[in-house]
């Protein structure tokens, strides 16, 4: 027993070190006083100050948050609709094809998604003049495209676990299908919708590849700015920025997991 738990502990420690050592190093070096990234010069918050005085980074961050917020919100609406349809379609060939299509963006390499979207936007622009050039709106459309697939999958799995007699009971008590959705179905799948939103938000915030394809001049998102800065040599303020991003993403992921747990608890209560 003792030996086994020692083995498990070692394995777990090794795994976590492998996963998190780079991030820990980054977080620690973000508090480095020295201008040289690789040399430790004592603790300081200097680079955080520098970071907040850097307009380019602040603008990019604000843009990224704006894009993430809008994309997540739109993706949640569309993805919930798609997930609802999928779970209510019944067993048919149409459903199989549809659910295949929905999950395709999840497995598609980002480069291909980005490239195909870029080609589409260019073709659309030359066909009927919209979207005129590429910028924030094209990034949002691109992010919605892949985020809604995640939302659809999450919502669908929640709906398939839901007792359908609840909807029948609501109808029986006089609720029309339109009000039924908002009174019964939506509250019950709310945890899934929220975790879908959080996931979409983080995915959009993280995305570099697709955004690089579909963004235009003057519309660099935060990952794009970081990437371009790093290519010119890593500056310590990038470490500070990355640390902040890790914090935001971590909060998002933890919140999403917490929502998922609430959802399973709610389901268990339903039994």
């Amino acid at each position: 027993m003792k030996r086994r738990s020692l083995f498990l502990n070692t394995t777990a420690t090794m795994g976590f070190i492998f996963l998190y050592a780079p991030m820990i190093a980054l977080v620690v070096y973000s508090f480095n006083k020295s201008k040289l990234v690789t040399v430790w010069g004592g603790w300081s918050l200097k680079w955080y100050g520098e970071l907040f005085r850097n307009d380019q980074i602040i603008d990019a961050a604000l843009l990224s948050f704006k894009i993430a917020f809008i994309s997540a919100s739109v993706a949640v609406v569309l993805g919930t609709m798609a997930g609802f349809v999928l779970s209510r379609f019944g067993r048919s060939r149409g459903k199989m094809i549809l659910s295949g299509w929905i999950s395709a963006p999840l497995v598609m390499p980002e480069v291909i998604t980005g490239l195909s979207l870029l080609l589409l936007f260019v073709a659309m622009e030359s066909a009927f003049g919209w979207p005129a050039g590429r910028g924030t709106s094209t990034i949002i459309i691109a992010h919605v495209t892949f985020c809604m697939a995640y939302v659809a999958v999450i919502v669908q799995s929640r709906l398939s676990q839901m007792d359908e007699t609840l909807e029948e009971a609501a109808m029986d008590l006089g609720a029309k299908p339109s009000s039924l959705f908002f009174l019964v179905t939506l509250p019950l799948i709310m945890p899934a919708v929220i975790s879908g939103w959080l996931l979409s938000f983080t995915l959009s915030l993280d995305d570099l590849v697709i955004a690089s394809f579909v963004s235009g001049p003057g519309n660099s998102t935060l990952p794009m700015v970081i990437f371009s800065k790093v290519r010119l040599g890593v500056s310590p303020e990038v470490n500070a920025l990355a640390t902040l991003m890790i914090a935001v993403v971590a909060i998002g992921v933890v919140a999403a997991m917490w929502q998922m747990r609430r959802q399973t608890k709610l389901l268990a209560d339903q039994e």
């Binding site: 007792d163 009971a169 609501a170 029986d172 008590l173």
Partner: protein, 388 residues
């Protein structure tokens, strides 16, 4: 509580001299089911059923799984639309009427309480959909919760209630809109035995108090017997027999009903004497000529079954005086159950007969035991001839 319920619910009060509606000539049915058929692909779940149910009835659809009883109920609620036929509730044809517009409410087998709403909001859900004012909703919800004795639990969520409490919330929720017709799908299925008995009588009380017409679906014959004014026994999508509980038990119209409701001994035989008011049947299985004190319409020499309920038979070591309806066998097994003893007796033909006897004596020595030779006999009017 149970005693008073029993007095009020189970035994007709003496001042009611009128015949029940279903026995009155020309009474208007409250719910009329006309030639309803429901097919799922090739499978016919409900096969051309016609049925009249009258106001204030508590009608039980009794049948095994797959008999079509739940499908019929779901068509009444509007969740399934019939392949052909009509449903008329209180004179209004329900074809094409959506579930949310029907004067019908349903209590689901799983109760289907909304987990995200409190008990009060669950019960008030239907009233709010009607657009009633806040104050009226509150008052009617409170009345209803008091009736099911849950007034103090209004703020709880369904997950914080016991099974019996949830069942009562579901009942309150389905009654609060004062439906003309209440559908109950296995209402007592999920409760333990003690709660079931209590709730059965409570249901009857509520039904009489509110004057709602109930249609109950159940697979439990005991539940049907205690609850129903009439029972419709279903099998393979058709109603085999519609009758009052007493008649379903004592005068089953077919072997299916006799065997499905309660237990029964069936003796196969052929008619040898056919009088207008009695028949004699020669049964190889029984090893005797059986006499039945009612006439039947059938072909001479037709194969029939004589049905005798286990509790209608008597068992003794000595040969009784009566010559007819007396068979001889050996006690194969017996089970002492306190109030009753159940015997399994093997006849000379190899047929196994089940007999239940009340234990009127405390003396163990008087009890029959294994391998004893016994006589089984029953009154001339205790048996029924079944031709179907």
């Amino acid at each position: 509580m149970i005693e008073t319920a029993g007095d009020a619910g189970l035994i007709a009060s003496p001042d009611i001299t009128e015949l029940p509606l279903w026995k009155q000539e020309g009474a208007t049915p409250f719910l009329r089911i006309e030639n309803i058929t429901k097919k799922f692909g090739d499978f016919t779940a409900v096969d051309n059923i016609s049925l009249d149910i009258y106001k204030n009835e508590l009608f039980c659809l009794l049948g095994g799984s797959g008999s079509g009883k739940s499908t019929l109920l779901r068509m009444l609620a509007g969740f399934e639309s019939p392949t052909s036929g009509r449903i008329i509730i209180d004179g209004v044809d329900m074809s094409g009427v959506q579930p949310w517009k029907r004067p019908v409410n349903m209590m689901f087998q799983s109760y289907a309480l909304f987990p995200h709403l409190s008990v009060e909001d669950n019960v008030g859900f239907g009233l709010k959909r009607e657009g009633l004012g806040r104050a009226e909703v509150k008052q009617r919800v409170a009345e209803m919760l008091d009736m099911v004795q849950l007034g103090h639990l209004g703020k709880r969520k369904p997950s914080q209630l016991s099974g019996g409490q949830r069942q009562r919330v579901a009942l309150a929720r389905s009654l609060v809109k004062r439906p003309k017709l209440l559908l109950l799908d296995e209402p007592l299925g999920a409760l333990d035995k003690k709660l079931r008995e209590e709730t059965q009588f409570e249901l009857i009380n509520i039904q009489e108090e509110l004057g709602v017409t109930f249609v109950v679906v159940t697979h439990d014959q005991e539940e049907a017997m205690t609850l129903a004014t009439r029972i419709g026994v279903m099998n393979n999508g058709i109603i085999v027999q519609t009758a009052e509980p007493h008649d379903v038990y004592e005068y089953p119209n077919s072997r299916f009903v006799a065997e499905f409701v309660g237990s029964v001994n069936l003796f196969e035989g052929r008619i040898i004497e056919d009088q207008p008011d009695s028949v004699r049947i020669n049964s190889q299985e029984a090893g005797a000529v059986l006499y039945v004190s009612h006439g039947i319409s059938c072909a001479p020499n037709q194969k029939v079954h004589v049905a005798v309920r286990p509790e209608k038979m008597r068992i003794s070591r000595e040969q009784p005086d009566q010559q007819e309806n007396c068979v001889c066998g050996v006690v194969e097994e017996y089970a002492y159950m306190g109030g009753l003893t159940v015997y399994r007796v093997r006849l000379a033909s190899g047929k196994e007969v089940r007999v239940t006897q009340p234990n009127t004596s405390r003396e163990a020595s008087e009890r029959l035991t294994w391998k004893e030779q016994v006589y089984l006999y029953w009154d001339l009017d205790s048996s029924v001839v079944l031709t179907a």
